[in-house]
Subunit: 103 residues, 2 copies
């Protein structure tokens, strides 16, 4: 039924969108996938967004119905031409401090 | 509908705002994003606030509609010129006490 409603009745929801090198992340409100893509292009000054993927595992969000199942504040990454998703480097606390002992 | 109401009818809500080196944190009441930015400049004696970001993940809070989705007492960080968000160092209990034994 969501698709049959006029655009203005759709409820805009918050998403957290990051660029492919994870240097900039923005909170963006969007009611549908096209709306989100347009806003991503505005906010990040992109001419074209090749893909939107889930930041957690790189799952492509290509369809409106899948997009509508995402929870509020889902982390999404957008990809420009030639860019690829890569898993987040998780530096666990203390991890960098592991040093080889002098034995 | 929030946007259609006169400014004075908006309900001021509490936020917890920290500076970029996480040395000072203040509880600040604000009804909208502009109000919060102005109060941050007053409270922290800043001439200019470049950005407000979520302390948890660095998401930029640039728009009023996204700001209005934030819960009361959300932790926010403000950034001055040239300052960047960095993830909070989480010192798990006991972790700092791990020392290399002299073998």
């Amino acid at each position: 039924t969501q698709q049959l409603l006029p655009r203005w009745t759709q409820h805009a929801r918050p998403f957290r969108v990051i660029n492919s090198d994870r240097s900039i992340k923005k909170g963006i409100m969007a009611s549908d996938l096209r709306d989100l893509r347009n806003k991503v292009m505005d906010v990040f000054h992109m001419h074209c967004v090749s893909a939107l993927v889930l930041d957690e595992d790189g799952t492509g969000v290509d369809t409106e119905d899948f997009f509508q199942t995402l929870k509020d504040n889902t982390d999404l990454m957008f990809l420009g031409k030639g860019q690829k998703w890569a898993p987040q480097q998780r530096h666990l606390p203390g991890q960098k401090k592991v040093e080889r002992s002098n034995t």
